[in-house]
């Protein structure tokens, strides 16, 4: 299997604080990577660096061997990186189907004139969008909410919608920042199930998660961050027995 994402010595400082310090790891295509660590360990910052929301001070980020360091977020997204945010980010005022449609925008070529004149291309792509929306809507199981404003649907459905939006553009790599945060145990199961099905589509997944139990059963590999530094990297069981990890987590990991 080939490496899809390569993080190579990436460092990010905010003022005097080093949020991410010379972190490197690689993700193999088709695998699920878990990213864990205590609060403020720099996990979300790392996602923002990969996703292009912020630029690293040092180090390189490569996608499929292509150097995407310092690319703006929208270009990284077009390279096939879908992502969700820690605080669930949706287009809250817009209906669910439009949320999804927007996720597919980067795969369409309709320009202003197509839109104004409703050219054949615009019509064709409109159909394409609708089809894809139905596909994803079914895949994430949000059919019943399709015309509701995204902000008004239940918390757990919002989480699935966020994943759905990220899936719309047919990403090869999906970055999920706490996809089950603030969700009850029963619903967590549904989301985990969704993530498994995503992997079955052949999409590589990187996931930040606090619920250790869930992570252990889901991921192929674990990367542990503490104070911006990578302290462990390997198969879940191996990482959990690592003494530095136990120290960072005060034994919570084993539970």
């Amino acid at each position: 299997m080939s490496v899809i994402l390569e993080v190579d010595g990436v460092t990010k400082r905010f003022g005097g604080l080093v949020a991410v310090n010379k972190v490197d790891f690689a993700v193999e295509e088709g695998s699920i990577l878990g990213l864990i660590g205590p609060n403020g360990a720099g996990k979300s910052t790392l996602f923002n660096l990969i996703g292009g929301t912020i630029k690293p001070d040092e180090g390189r980020i490569r996608l499929d061997g292509k150097d995407v360091t310092g690319w703006p977020a929208h270009r990284v997204a077009r390279e096939g990186v879908g992502r969700t945010f820690q605080t669930t980010a949706l287009f809250e005022e817009l209906p669910v189907y439009l949320n999804l449609a927007i996720g597919y925008r980067m795969r369409t070529k309709t320009n202003l004139f197509d839109a104004l004149l409703r050219t054949p291309r615009a019509r064709r792509e409109q159909k394409e969008i609708t089809q894809r929306v139905i596909e994803v809507l079914t895949f994430v199981g949000l059919g019943e909410y399709f015309d509701r404003p995204a902000g008004s649907i239940p918390q757990e459905a919002q989480k699935r919608l966020a994943i759905g939006i990220a899936l719309m553009g047919r990403p090869r790599l999906l970055l999920l920042d706490e996809p089950t945060g603030g969700v009850g145990p029963e619903e967590t199961g549904r989301i985990i199930d969704l993530i498994r099905r995503v992997r079955e589509l052949g999409i590589t997944v990187c996931i930040i998660e606090h619920k250790m139990k869930m992570v252990m059963g889901l991921v192929d590999r674990l990367v542990v961050l503490n104070f911006g530094v990578k302290i462990a990297d390997g198969p879940p069981q191996e990482v959990c027995s690592d003494p530095s990890v136990i120290e960072a987590y005060l034994g919570e990991c084993i539970a």
Binding site: G52, A77, F91, A101, A115, E125, I165, G169
Partner: protein
């Protein structure tokens, strides 16, 4: 998607009905001289409605508060008058050229301005407007000074009635353009920036490029409003570039209903007409108007159209027992 179609058809029906009404109105108004006056006021009001629609595109649908629309309308009006009178370009050629020129100027302003966000963007555009106004006020070679720039309208457009229809046609065109954009995936990208800029970046939409696009189109329409203004008034002077116009356009848009297609039209036509009618109240009318603005914005934060939509939703909620439209996602 069936239900959208139903809703659209309803809106379309209302739109067509208002257009027909507006088109028939002159037949009535032409009869009396007082009616003719109302026609003139409505003609001007519709020009500002075009400007308000153009502001709505960038403010309402893309979320960027632009305070330079007075200047843009002014630039459009001047470029029209100068092209026709001094350069000697044919009116019908000058009209699209004016729109393109204003769009291009907007594009140039947008390049540095969209590096900033929110209130910063608003102030940058306001500053641009102040600069344009000061330039036109003092550079009399450009603006024609006290006399302004006179402007010969083609004979076809000489009468009040044809001017009315001419402006009405362009207002209808503007509404259609805005609607076509908003109901398309291009417009959805604009909406996504308004709603959540970082998420739209994360799904591959370049906020900068889309804002710039939206602004350029908005400027194109503002230039059109300017060209219409020059056509209707026959003389352009520096006061048209004032940022007070920017504020007015903003007020029309917000009171009418930001981010709705009909709102800016209703706001501009309604308020312009109202303000003209209450002229007889002397200076103190502006105390009342000021208080009215505050009250409306407090009690109807989404403007008149927003209020109507709210009311409609509320009625719908009361009446219908919700049926989940499962599996009806067909286009």
């Amino acid at each position: 998607m069936k239900w959208i179609k139903e809703k659209l058809n309803f809106n379309l029906l209302v739109g067509l009905a208002s257009l027909t009404l507006a088109a028939l109105l002159p037949l009535l108004l032409q009869r009396t001289s007082g009616g003719k006056y109302n026609m003139i006021v409505l003609t001007y009001a519709m020009i500002w409605a075009v400007a308000a629609c153009s502001l709505n595109l960038i403010l309402g649908f893309t979320g960027q508060a632009c305070l330079a629309h007075g200047a843009l309308v002014g630039i459009g009006a001047y470029s029209m008058a100068i092209m026709v009178e001094r350069v000697g370009i044919n009116y019908w050629l000058a009209f699209p050229l004016t729109c393109l020129l204003t769009a291009f100027i907007g594009f140039l302003i947008g390049l540095p301005s969209f590096r900033t966000r929110g209130p910063y963007f608003a102030i940058v555009t306001l500053c641009f407007n102040v600069i344009v106004y000061a330039t036109f006020e003092n550079w009399t070679w450009l603006s024609g000074g006290l006399a302004g720039q006179s402007f010969e309208v083609p004979p076809v457009l000489a009468s009040r009635t044809t001017k009315y229809y001419f402006v009405l046609a362009f207002l209808a065109l503007t509404v259609v353009v805005v609607r076509q954009i908003i109901k398309s995936i291009v417009g959805a990208s604009f909406l996504s920036i308004l709603s959540n800029e970082s998420l739209s970046e994360a799904v591959g939409i370049s906020a900068f490029r889309n804002k710039l696009l939206s602004f350029t189109v908005s400027c194109f329409l503002a230039g059109m409003a300017g060209a219409l203004f020059a056509t209707v008034s026959g003389r352009v002077d520096y006061s048209i570039t004032s940022f007070l116009h920017s504020f007015n356009i903003l007020v029309y848009t917000l009171i009418g209903g930001v981010a709705t297609i009909a709102g800016p039209v209703i706001g501009a036509v309604g308020l312009y007409y109202l303000l003209d009618r209450i002229k007889g109240f002397g200076e103190f009318r502006y105390v009342g108007f000021g208080v009215l603005l505050i009250l409306i914005i407090i009690f109807f934060p989404r403007g008149l159209m927003g209020g109507i939509n709210q009311l409609r939703d509320w009625v719908k909620e009361k009446r219908s027992t919700k049926v989940a439209p499962q599996g009806e996602v067909g286009s």
